[in-house]
């Protein structure tokens, strides 16, 4: 393993995060605070409780997931797309590093940043609502696995994207709707039966459900399904990345 190369990529990417601190960290915190004000205080005051949890607290796992999914995807996609765009990708391709090491560097940095933002939102949430976490270890595990899986997805998007528009396409048109419709702000038991069934085809439902279980001990779907969903998703991403590297898809001519 070329550990120095992994560390170099990781440090380089993290340095970009800290250089763009306002955009990277402060903006997700601000938008989350706005969600708390609008959904938690304004609307939440009219909704009593959802499954025995105050509405303000109920939306915390969904809000964290919303930000973490979009952040890990866009961080990783931008991380690998930018060198392609400005041409510095030649360095990665001509260095004595394996594709696996490249992925660890970029995905590791993107996941770390998303994880940090997830924790910051959790801390921010404490200022708005009373929150106790029923299964903290599971909560962290879900958070880490989600950050890594969606950073892997982002990496694939970054390799695939041919321009900045395509780079934004998946986070904007796929991930955000899936998270909103995946029960971030409601329990799927609140939906009419037909929609409950349709919703089960949304993979994000399983992530949010499992994550919410880690907070409150209750879930829309069984915990096993949530764990299985994330493992299958991660495996699919890893398989795709393996294929990209074997074929050099959009990287090596």
């Amino acid at each position: 393993m070329n550990w120095n190369a992994i560390a170099a990529i990781y440090r380089f990417e993290m340095a970009r995060t800290f250089r763009t601190l306002v955009q990277s960290v402060i903006s997700p915190v601000l938008s989350t605070s706005l969600y708390f004000i609008v959904f938690g205080a304004a609307i939440g005051s009219r909704i009593d409780q959802v499954e025995g949890v105050s509405y303000g607290a109920f939306i915390v796992p969904g809000l964290i997931m919303l930000t973490v999914l979009t952040q890990s995807t866009s961080n990783a996609s931008f991380g690998i797309y930018f060198p392609k765009f400005i041409g510095t990708v030649y360095e990665l391709l001509s260095a004595p590093i394996s594709f696996f090491e490249i992925v660890i560097g970029y995905v590791g940095a993107a996941a770390t940043k998303a994880f940090m933002i997830g924790l910051i939102i959790l801390i921010t949430a404490h200022f708005f609502v009373d929150l106790t976490i029923a299964h903290p270890v599971w909560m962290l595990l879900f958070l880490v696995l989600t950050c890594i899986s969606f950073a892997l997805l982002g990496f694939i998007i970054g390799i695939w994207a041919g321009n900045f528009e395509q780079l934004q396409l998946v986070p904007m048109l796929v991930i955000t709707p899936l998270v909103f419709l995946g029960g971030s702000f409601y329990s799927i038991s609140m939906l009419p039966p037909v929609w409950q069934t349709i919703t089960l085809f949304n993979p994000v439902v399983y992530l949010i459900s499992g994550f919410r279980w880690a907070f409150f001990g209750q879930a829309d779907v069984a915990l096993g399904w949530s764990v299985a969903a994330i493992v299958v998703f991660m495996a699919a991403c890893l398989f795709t990345i393996g294929w990209i590297f074997r074929t050099g898809y959009k990287l090596r001519s």
Binding site: N4, F12, G87, S94, P96
Partner: protein, 308 residues
Amino acid sequence: MATVLNVKGVTKTYEGGHQALKGVDLEIEEGEILALLGPNGAGKTTLISIICGIATATSGTITVGGFDHAHDYREARNLIGLVPQEINLEPFETVMNSVRFSRGLFGKPRDDARIDEILKLLSLHDKKDNRIMTLSGGMKRRVLIAKALCHDPQILFLDEPTAGVDVELRKDMWEIVARLKETGVTVILTTHYIEEAEAMADRIGVISKGEILLVEEKDALIKRLGQKELLIELDAPIDAVPEALSNYPLTISDEGGLIYSYDAQAGHTGITGLLSDLREAGLHLVDLSTRQSSLEDIFVDLVKEDAA
């Protein structure tokens, strides 16, 4: 001298069917400077990209320092530094961070003292904390060289290092290459400036339409293929070659003298006979001088022949 790079039968056919390389063989000796000359689209950059791992060959083998460049890619790439043709740099990074990143990618531990040395060699040291976007084009090109050198490679590829740079910077670049040679680095540069190959290279390879037409010692190449011209200045200008001298390949110079073309390597140049025939034709010589054709003439001839 040992061979540091061996390219055998490398071909490259792009998906669209365009064959960029048609079986390239090339051997590079340790410590030499080889200039790869060729017109645009000849396959220079494709060849370098394949050797460096940026593109894949359709067939053929490449060994770098004895390591197979596909199988033992880590060992092989460790020996290579690449300065690309385009100025591909992270605009927001400082020079130092950018070079540190490159060194890290090659698996080397952080060593700012070594990077300082390289930046000094390239007259970049006072800019090390500047953001790359604030540097001039010439300085950016130096940053690319620093990035390529920071892992102490044995072979340095310079892909058109002076394309689009001013005369002064071009001379600087030649000086840098000369200094690198002194430190034992093997340099392979591509260029379409003949002047550059003539000034820097030990050997010259000519590539055209994906094929290496020849690789030879620069001096030998110029000598072997060089046509010489004998310039004959006369006391009274003439405007036509006299009938008595019509057997000789003579032309009239701008000054009304004669130009005699001959092959310097031929056993019989015909100069002695020409001089006596000139006297018999009643022409009086004022001065004689010779001129050897430049690499540019040779290059143009070779590529023209290849196209024919």
